[in-house]
Symmetry: none
Subunit: 401 residues, 2 copies
């Protein structure tokens, strides 16, 4: 928790290495038929054995009842209060795909979408148009010009892109143009602060030109913009924790967050096999590794209980490769719950286990929501996960005489 005022004085560099494995959307909920959660259903011999040797607990969002997005969820895990340091999606996506941003630039996340002849939204994701199909459209959008404001558009993946506006006097307090419902017209962007009128006008001009450029299409004939934001200035993990941190994640947003917090974002591939190979290759160079595992969340979001179980079992098979590196401290947790039966993120607690050279187990036999709740760490505010990780790695000095 970086807002603990003595954090810089208490942290110390040591030789011990921390691997923090973040299983996106880890937390689940019982299937009504079997009364077992995804974790309880999955066969996880390696994660279960780690649980038997770990300090165990559950993290919860602060305050209870709030459902975190993956952005705030990861911020919290690294010790940053997401309420205080929340960043807009536009900036995160732009950084994630490596766009070069100045401190006054405004970024927004874009979706290709589909409207009917009345201008009403019929598909927020344009039939999940592929990256191949989207790239030529992106090239058109990138050629749009606005008076006094430079425009840059880049594809993220599939139907998603980033718009960056570069110019003078661009505030980032602008409303989104996603109506959040189907069958209704799309709202214009509006300025929510005095200094954001130019940004809102530029966004609306961009959308109008994009619509004209796409209007021959049936699917993907419109764009929506949201998450208008500028680069925040964030305390750096190197400085706060005296770490040499590295991030191994495939998805742009997670790479973007890691970079903003001062982690070295390592080049890696799309699969978890690639990520493990990257971890092995760079293991000697850093002392903190954020290792991100996405498939559990994707399956949960799809409402696919079986796929989430599979994703967890696949991860379990990789655990011996991680253990072979013999990290002093292995942290296994998630950024939020994504119960398959809800098909979305939720407010539920998330398992947390920390195995270090000093832990001997809490009597917990397996890796699940219920069993972790009986562990020695109890319920932990998610923003305290980083301190507990540092503590297990012997990287925290005593506070006070």
């Amino acid at each position: 928790m970086i807002d603990f005022p003595y954090i810089k004085q208490l942290t110390r560099p040591t030789d011990s290495k921390i691997i923090m494995l973040v299983i996106d959307g880890l937390g689940g909920y019982p299937n009504p038929d079997t009364r077992k959660s995804e974790l309880e259903t999955a066969n996880l011999p390696n994660l279960d054995r780690i649980a038997q040797e770990s300090s165990c607990g559950l993290t919860n969002p602060t305050p209870f009842g709030i459902t975190l997005g993956s952005g705030p969820g990861h911020m919290a895990l690294f010790g940053y209060d997401p309420v205080k340091y929340l960043m807009g999606r536009g900036i995160l996506e732009a950084i994630g795909i490596g766009m070069d941003l100045g401190k006054d630039d405004v970024a927004a996340r874009g979706n290709f979408c589909t409207i009917d002849s009345n201008g009403c939204l019929v598909d927020r994701r344009a039939g999940r148009i592929s990256s191949e199909d989207a790239q030529p459209l992106i090239n058109r959008l990138d050629k749009i010009t606005l008076e006094g404001v430079q425009v840059s558009v880049q594809l993220v993946r599939d139907y998603r892109f980033v718009l960056v506006l570069h110019g003078d006097g661009l505030g980032d307090q602008v409303s989104e143009t996603d109506p959040q419902n189907l069958g209704v017209p799309m709202p214009e962007a509006t300025a929510l602060s005095e200094d954001s009128h130019t940004t809102a006008a530029s966004a609306n001009n961009f959308i109008a030109q994009a619509r004209r450029s796409l209007n021959q299409r049936v699917v993907g004939n419109m764009v929506m913009l949201r998450g208008f934001s500028r680069l925040p200035s964030l305390p750096q993990m190197t400085d706060l924790y005296h770490l040499r941190p590295a991030a191994i994640a495939s998805y742009p947003m997670y790479r973007g967050i890691a970079q903003l917090l001062g982690m070295r974002v390592l080049e890696t591939g799309d699969s978890f096999e690639h990520q493990i190979a990257t971890l092995e290759q760079h293991y000697s160079e850093y002392d903190f590794f954020f290792l991100h595992y996405k498939p559990a969340d994707a399956a949960g979001e799809d409402g696919n209980f079986g796929a989430k179980v599979d994703a967890l079992e696949k991860l379990d098979q990789h655990m011996p490769e991680i253990l072979k590196l013999d990290p002093h401290t292995l942290v296994v947790t998630g950024d939020h719950a994504t119960p398959s039966i809800f098909g979305s993120h939720s407010w539920h607690k998330v398992p947390l286990m920390i195995r270090s050279s000093s832990t001997r187990g809490d009597g917990v036999q397996g890796f699940s929501e219920k069993s972790m709740g009986t562990g020695s760490m109890g319920t932990v505010p998610a923003t305290n996960t980083m301190l507990l990780s540092l503590a297990h790695a012997d990287k925290l000095r005593r506070f006070g005489p």
Copy 2:
């Protein structure tokens, strides 16, 4: 928790209805003979079945160890930090009996009490004088006049009344005249802030005149004043949570709190049967119902273990009537513990269960302090109860990307 800065953006109106049943003084403590608490002793088939289908946990006051009054206890349940938004008892009682208050008026709660010939307190409640006997005395007190300050006195019930002072420059930082002990003289009211000297002088003048007016009596020959307070300005639940909230409570203080928070306070009768009838009658009109059940606290305060068990069993028999309304989300909790063996409020945790269309139970079999502690919500700061209720009712958007 209304101090979560994004609360207004995250809450959304939906069709789902929440009934929050607040069992006053719910939390108990084991009887030393049986080692069972009131909840564990009572036969509660309906509440037990609800527990089996709910998210379960325990609420605790913040900070731990604080014993909450019913006022702060209820404020916390509705998401208002009672330390930040604490209201004086005088204001609460005045609003509860429907007195018309201006924003500069100061209200104090009064007791008829009994002093001996030396002026020492011998009975703080004047033998619990009845409302019938008290009313003529109230009429006398209401005729008292003070220079530059208007006086209004109204009976609450039995030995309790409200004094309202109306005038210019009336601060509310005034000490109480209840010595909190018997056999000692009663202290004068003293100003605790610069702007409260007029109020303190008016209060002392009022007490002196009241004493002269009552000095022929043996019992109820004196008054004491406490809880000097002015009307607070509180964020409204309608605005914060996008709810249409209604309150169904018989006792003045709870009605007063509900009104201050923006709930519609429904006319109802003195018994819980009346309250249930009111709930049924108005069920279609609101989407949040605060339903208050008082008898458990009254029995606990009397130190009557058996009576508290009875009060809980009587409530249990009414649960089918509540369930028949088929609320999307049913919250069952208390404002504080009132263990019978202490005969007073206490700092102990309070059971909390939330049954919604998405909950499937936590494996908890019955409604008790111990069993709730094993539930999925764990220990919940009482001020987070409202967020968890909104989350279960699908009335909270996700926070961040």
